[in-house]
């Protein structure tokens, strides 16, 4: 494998790790704040799946980097400008509708991305995809059910759900952006060509939203930047909290 490809895979694994840890963290913020106990458990489950994925992706990135760093160095010792996660995933948890709509957007996305990643020539990435596909199937069932119930529930729940969809819509466009690194890996049969998934995503999401009596927004705005480290103001605060203990005791084991 050429150094160029190896570096690209390391970068790609890091991006996927960043996506997973950021969303896993946001979901974990719900534990003990859910609308009832069963939801605390469900949130815990989904968060565990994502943090679990992050560990696999980061461990692989660390293995490729081969410079003595481990998964925690990737999660805890990089600043927000170095993080490469999608913006959608770093948005604060908001209310229950907001979190479930974000989750629906992410779950539909992974429902499309993961089967493609399973076909990757890179066995480690394909292996993570194989595990994650099963989890995402359950995640989507849950977020879909919630969006249906909230959208077509009471006037208030409908209003909140519509608002969440409108507020998050502009962050969904970059889910399908490609750059040179990913294009290089697509050419090698390693990464997923996400640019081809937008139509399928839009169809699945629109069907669910329509069934939930929610209006699908016009594509009037789009915010981008996650993959280049151009984040929202929220990520810095999230990482400050997440990294505080680890960084306060440099070089320690936990």
């Amino acid at each position: 494998m050429s150094d160029q490809i190896k570096n690209a895979i390391q970068e790609y694994a890091t991006r996927l790790g960043d996506d997973s840890v950021v969303l896993g963290h946001r979901i974990s913020e719900w534990v003990s704040y859910g609308p009832f106990l069963e939801e605390d458990i469900a949130y815990g489950n989904v968060s565990l799946d994502y943090v679990g994925r992050a560990r696999l992706f980061y461990s692989y990135a660390a293995e490729l980097a081969d410079d003595g760093r481990d998964e925690d160095d990737f999660a805890y010792m990089r600043n927000d400008r170095e993080y490469r996660n999608l913006l959608l995933l770093e948005m604060p948890k908001g209310d229950f509708a907001y979190s479930q709509v974000r989750q629906l957007f992410a779950d539909v996305y992974y429902t499309l991305v993961l089967p493609e990643l399973l076909q990757s020539k890179d066995e480690t990435l394909a292996g993570v995809a194989a595990k994650a596909i099963k989890e995402t199937k359950y995640h989507l069932r849950r977020s879909r059910d919630w969006v249906l119930r909230l959208g077509d529930g009471t006037e208030e729940s409908h209003k909140r759900t519509q608002k969440a969809v409108d507020q998050l819509w502009g962050y969904t466009h970059e889910l399908f952006d490609m750059d040179e690194t990913e294009q290089l890996l697509v050419n090698e049969g390693i990464a997923v060509d996400v640019s081809k998934l937008r139509d399928a995503w839009l169809k699945m999401v629109s069907d669910i939203l329509t069934q939930a009596t929610i209006t699908v927004p016009e594509d009037s705005w789009a915010v981008r930047g996650g993959r280049t480290g151009y984040h929202t103001e929220h990520l810095g605060h999230m990482l400050t909290e997440m990294q505080i203990v680890h960084r306060s005791h440099p070089g320690c084991k936990w």
């Binding site: 840890v21 106990l37 560990r55 925690d72 805890y76 729940s157 997440m242």
Partner: protein, 314 residues
């Protein structure tokens, strides 16, 4: 008329047969159980807060996963226990109302704040450790659903206890700063953990009847002694200082002698005036109230579905 029923009930208790939901039981037995099981359920649920406080700051991904799983297990324990309690004729929403209005209690230990990462380890080690001593004994409790719930819960709790101890061990063997954090957590959580066993037997309002009915199987003081004894060695292995300067092996008793507890503090926290009593209940109430529109949405959605189904059938 109740005499033969009561006789039959006491015969079962004495023969170590379990009492099941549909069996006749004295009203006071039922009430006593509801009090104890719901208190236990509420403890699991409120206990999610002090540990949940550290989920977003866990210092490694592995610790984050372990802590998330643990807090999730607690929510699960809360669920089994609410279900066990519902078999006695009280609903979960009634229990939650009693918790929020202060009629029902939860374990006072959760009214102490978790100030550092080491507190998460100390809770696993000491608080879950103390809970297990109590719960192992409750596996033999006379009420069937409670006993079965305890058997299941004990398995998970002992896993938590090991994880907590391991987390503290890592700190105790770590940097001076980490070790200091571990010692500080031990100093703060040791005494409240001992208080988890409740007042002295002589002061305990519910103990005697509970023992007679075999709801409780061992006394508060006996269980506390077990915990004191098992903890001495654990502290030694960690290389930390024992918070009780008076701790001393008593050859004659075959147990450690220890200082008496600060019972003023104990009663003050029980009566609602601990560090976090207000905060814990406010947190629970706020989450519950914020969740109301979500619960309403489910009801409305289900009603609509049902109406549609009825319409289609007609």
């Amino acid at each position: 008329m109740t005499a033969p029923q009561e006789e039959n009930f006491m015969r079962k208790i004495q023969a170590e047969e379990k009492i099941e939901p549909k069996d006749w039981m004295p009203e006071a037995y039922r009430k006593n159980l509801i009090r104890q099981i719901s208190q236990h359920a509420h403890s699991e649920v409120i206990g999610m807060q002090p540990e949940g406080n550290w989920i977003t700051r866990a210092p490694s991904l592995r610790r984050k996963v372990v802590l998330l799983s643990k807090v999730q297990d607690e929510a699960g324990h809360g669920l089994y226990l609410y279900s066990a309690c519902e078999t006695l004729g009280i609903s979960r929403s009634e229990m939650i109302e009693q918790l929020q209005s202060g009629v029902a209690k939860y374990s006072s230990i959760f009214n102490y704040p978790t100030l550092t990462w080491a507190d998460v380890g100390a809770i696993g080690w000491l608080v879950d450790g103390a809970a297990i001593v109590n719960q192992v004994s409750l596996q033999r409790t006379s009420y069937g659903p409670y006993s079965r719930g305890m058997i299941r819960i004990c398995k998970e709790e002992s896993f938590h206890q090991r994880q907590g101890y391991e987390a503290i061990l890592e700190l105790a063997k770590g940097s001076p700063g980490q070790k200091e954090m571990a010692q500080d957590a031990l100093n703060r959580f040791y005494w409240p953990a001992l208080m988890m066993f409740g007042p002295h037997d002589s002061e305990s309002a519910h103990s005697q009847k509970s023992m007679e009915w075999k709801i409780k199987r061992e006394t508060n003081d006996d269980l506390r002694q077990k915990f004191v004894d098992q903890t001495v060695k654990q502290i030694e292995v960690l290389g930390l200082e024992h918070p009780d300067k008076a701790i001393k092996w008593n050859e004659e008793r075959g147990h450690y002698d220890s200082s008496d507890l600060n019972w003023d503090e104990f009663w003050s926290v029980i009566n609602g005036n601990g560090h976090c009593n207000r905060q814990r209940i406010e947190h629970h109430v706020a989450a519950h109230e914020e969740g109301e529109w979500v619960r309403d949405a489910i009801t409305a959605y289900n009603d609509k579905k049902r109406a549609k189904k009825a319409q289609n059938a007609a």
